[in-house]
């Protein structure tokens, strides 16, 4: 085999347009620009994650030294600084019900938008979802307060918070479901319809398995956002001390614990706020890991589909 460098550069007798080594100023600039961007992009990424890392560090610093199992398992609901078990349970309770509602609304809405609705309706729905995502959570909370707490007369109870929170989460599920179904290559849809599947059969048998990893990511994203949400809950739920007994009980989530305690002059209450914040961080992190693992497993089956 000929050695690589022996033949380059000078090859006598070929036209300049055929020379493949390019040392022109423009090309050198472009290559330099590419390289600079290759460094700049990760650098800017680092700048972007510094505040996040700082927050994780600060919360851990404040919370970890006081961390014991009794924070979760302590039994006396009135001994505030050792008792996060009830708010932790309530958080899962609230988020579980809110996710169920958000998935029901968002998934059906997203699929209908991507597959069934006429173009104008679909675009109207997308605009609505985008507006809802852009709405500050305190405004959603206020609407929930006006609607469920006052107008429906439910009062500041568990179910009012759950429904308000689910309205906040729905557009995230909606958008990923819409996007996942819209980005399925057209020939796959045509192949399914061409083999005699009806639209609903296509959606259930072909579309959903393909869109599943993306939809799942959207659902978990909505959960992670919902778990961290405070504003819609503090205005629609009366903070309870006990686990909610029924849909019309008072209830208190971890975020509400933080809200109540982080500005307290008492050091013990501040510790409680940081413990709650730490628990939330762990939950959100765990959710992210779970969604990565599950969607990676499903994504593997789909390799090659989008080529």
């Amino acid at each position: 085999m000929r050695s690589v460098d022996a033949t380059l550069p000078p090859v006598p007798g070929i036209a300049s347009a055929d020379v493949l080594i390019d040392r022109s100023a423009r090309t050198r600039f472009r290559l330099g620009f590419d390289r600079a961007m290759g460094w700049l992009t990760p650098l800017l990424f680092l700048v972007a994650i510094v505040p996040i890392l700082d927050m994780v560090y600060y919360v851990s610093l404040k919370a970890v030294p006081h961390l014991t199992w009794t924070i979760i398992t302590g039994t006396n609901p009135y001994e505030a600084n050792v008792y996060l078990g009830v708010p932790l349970y309530t958080t899962f309770y609230v988020i579980g019900l809110a996710t169920a509602i958000a998935v029901a609304l968002g998934l059906f809405g997203g699929i209908a938008t991507a597959e069934l609705l006429p173009e104008q309706w679909a675009n109207a729905a997308r605009t609505g979802a985008n507006l809802l995502v852009g709405t500050p959570s305190i405004i959603i909370g206020y609407l929930g307060y006006l609607g469920f707490v006052l107008y429906f007369g439910w009062g500041p109870v568990f179910i009012a918070g759950v429904v308000t929170l689910s309205f906040f989460m729905t557009p995230y599920v909606f958008r990923t479901a819409d996007l996942a179904f819209s980005s399925i290559p057209r020939h796959i849809r045509e192949a399914a319809l061409g083999s005699g599947a009806g639209p609903s059969q296509y959606i259930v048998r072909v579309g959903l398995p393909i869109a599943f990893p993306q939809v799942l990511t959207g659902v978990f994203l909505a959960m992670a956002i919902g778990i961290g949400e405070t504003a819609p809950l503090v205005v629609t739920m009366q903070p309870g001390v006990l686990v909610p007994q029924n849909l019309f009980s008072p209830a208190k989530t971890l975020t509400m614990v933080i809200w109540e305690n982080f500005q307290s002059p008492l050091a013990a209450n501040q510790v409680l706020a940081f413990e709650a914040a730490f628990l939330l961080l762990v939950i959100v992190l765990a959710l992210n890991v779970v969604v990565r693992v599950i969607s990676a497993r499903y994504q593997k089956r789909l390799e090659g589909l989008y080529q």
Binding site: M1, R2, D5, L8, G13, D18, L20, I21, D22
Partner: protein, 259 residues
Amino acid sequence: MNAAAAPMGGPVMSVDHLTVTAKTKKVLLNDISLDFPPNSLTAVVGPSGCGKTTLVRSLNRMTELTPGLRVKGAVYYLGQNIYDRRVNPVLVRRRIGMVFQRPTVFPSSIYANASFGLRLVHEEEEKVDVAVRHALTRAGLWDEVKDDLDRPALSLSGGQQQRLCIARALAVEPRVLLMDEPSSALDPAATQRLEATMEHLKESMVLVLVTHNVGQAARVSDRVAFLHTGRLIEVGNTDEILERPKDPLTQQFITGRFL
């Protein structure tokens, strides 16, 4: 096979002990050596998965766009190894153009599609007009589209779109055009027109045509290279390979297709 020593009169391109390995350690191409003489059309044939597409993609460093592929050996273009570290892959792809299986026009006008490559090299306006017309003529599309070059390219038929893709590749005046099953998505009439375009183009440049259609290879090619499981089984003039194949594998493949 001595491209490096004598670029003038020698092959325009030559492949020298080329081995391509996938991330999974699977050998896609195994020690291929092959010459492409000037003004010729070489058809690369073989059963599915034999490495035809990998071979043409490695001729203009498109393999780099597939993560995990490792290329060993050399591909010479007029005596220059295109895998040399100092070679600019953009210049490689300008001299060695490529047309793909599915017609892939960009969602803009016919004119914008045909002039796409020229815009990348910042060619002057008047030159672009001339080059677009020249490229569309060579691709055999000019007469059909000359009245309305501002029409959306997506409004063309599949065969016209594929010839527009060829014109887009030709506009930057490459010496080599690689075609990866360009007629597999076209009907017989469009295929016939495409083949006429190829006949015309091979008088002035090197064409490499991947095809799974032995009939097409017989109609348009001067030389045939037969690949099987990543190995080059045999290469030679089309008449010889198709009528008197030396290797039983080639024999099987050809007769299987002709039956």
